[in-house]
Symmetry: C2
Subunit: 274 residues, 2 copies
């Protein structure tokens, strides 16, 4: 049975991704931070890990890019999950009974408009959306609600008071699947890659690299310049590309490797959108 590390506990969005991504029976390792998720992989307590990497509203989760880079983790897959926030509490309560809502700062932020109409509810930051749902159930906390996915209400026997309370309905998070060893890929299913490289501060250097990508028929799906830690305002680039032919991609790879500094492949995997 594969051991899969997730951030958060059962009932979290990471748990949903685990259910959707793996068809087999898996053993979930619940990690309470992205640091401990990484640790779980490095210490071989888990075979693979699921990590949120970007969100349509909040953008990239930069510290997670840093974790992948620093520990030389390999991205072996990705999954796009639509995010639904539901307000849930112990059964037989009304929204008027709720004095306090505890959740992750990001979830609270994404439901800001909803709570403007309920000014008497106190918003409290917590580390994990589903951990709050679990605590409400375990400690039978009345007057407290959690913001969590529907699955958390099912697991912890809570009642959904309001569904889809997020301000922007179109909210999606991209998760990556990680492992410590570079997988031996059958190139025929590979259609996406995540790359990292640094460039001299010479004018047009990025344009030149992007021209190579374009000439080799790679589609850019993401680009981000990131500060190189310990060297303020020198930038590294994180780039995601999709392609139809692995040969085209290989060609681009060998050219960019010569042109850029510290070129690194963070992962080659199947495009989660295709």
């Amino acid at each position: 049975m594969k051991k899969i590390a997730i951030q958060g506990i059962q009932g979290s969005n990471h748990h949903i991704v685990a259910q959707k991504y793996y068809s087999d029976n898996i053993q979930l390792n619940e990690c309470l931070s992205f640091d401990s998720l990484t640790d779980s992989l490095l210490k071989k307590k888990s075979d693979e890990a699921i990590m949120a990497i970007e969100n349509t509203i909040a953008g990239s989760i930069i510290p997670n890019y840093a974790l992948i880079d620093k520990h030389n983790l390999h991205i072996t897959g990705e999954y796009y999950l639509p995010i639904h926030h539901h307000l849930m509490a112990l059964p037989n309560q009304n929204i008027k009974d709720i004095k306090e809502v505890c959740s992750h700062p990001m979830a609270l932020l994404q439901c800001k408009e909803f709570f403007k109409n309920h000014p008497s509810i106190k918003l409290v930051e917590d580390v994990d959306t589903s951990a709050v749902a679990k605590a409400i159930a375990k400690q039978q906390l009345k007057g407290v609600a959690a913001i969590a996915p529907k699955i958390a209400a099912d697991i912890f026997d809570l009642e959904v008071l309001e569904d889809e309370i997020q301000t922007i309905k179109n909210n999606e998070t991209r998760f990556v699947i990680l492992q410590t060893k570079k997988p031996i890929n059958q190139t025929n299913y590979i259609s996406k890659a995540s790359l990292r490289f640094e460039l001299d501060h010479k004018r047009g250097s990025l344009a030149t690299v992007l021209n190579v990508m374009s000439d080799c028929k790679l589609n850019l799906t993401k680009i981000q310049s990131l500060p190189i830690i310990e060297t303020p305002w020198k930038y590294a680039f994180f780039v995601d590309v999709t392609f139809n032919s692995y040969d085209d991609y290989s060609k681009a790879k060998s050219i960019i490797e010569i042109m850029a500094n510290n070129f690194k492949i963070l992962g080659e995997y199947k495009n989660g959108r295709s």
Copy 2:
């Protein structure tokens, strides 16, 4: 007297930037969130506002880009501030007396290594670094420490227990100066611009735009693809460029305006690095 909105209170990093950026006498308007900072400008309670926009460790503060874009604010300047985290408490206490440290999640994150050596200290998230320093002073809270800039210890009569407790010493935040009206620029001092545009998902479209920038002698100092809210995985680009000649920049501007969709100038200002 100019009214300047800052995020946070006196003794915060925003306050330091206000002192450094404005030579004149100014009136500070303390805002407890970036939303209320924006409000202060829009409701004309403040003439200008100072807003943190990116950090060497954490990367861009994406929701702040969204605020600037949504409310059509204009960037009229920038300031780069080295960040120093100091642990401070009521006088005559030792680090062993400290049971709890309250600070902004970002400050706690940046001092993670320091607190690994003090596992008995409880870390509590709070909205503002200096507000904690103020509360400690006002309520004479013993056993509680704040992480804040040196200036906060001076203002609130606290004692610095440990200085420079950040893990990565080279930590810098970039702040932008904002106003609601487009300033009438004397182009001779303008050497940097922040641009936003959208591109068709045609292969090579970004490379083409960057080629124009390079041909017009613009230096790219930052690029970021950002999801367009309500349209998942269609990207807008936020780009910062520096240049020696405003004419070169003007030429690039008029070409990109034709090539890209929804081209917008977020600001034209003096390069904070020059």
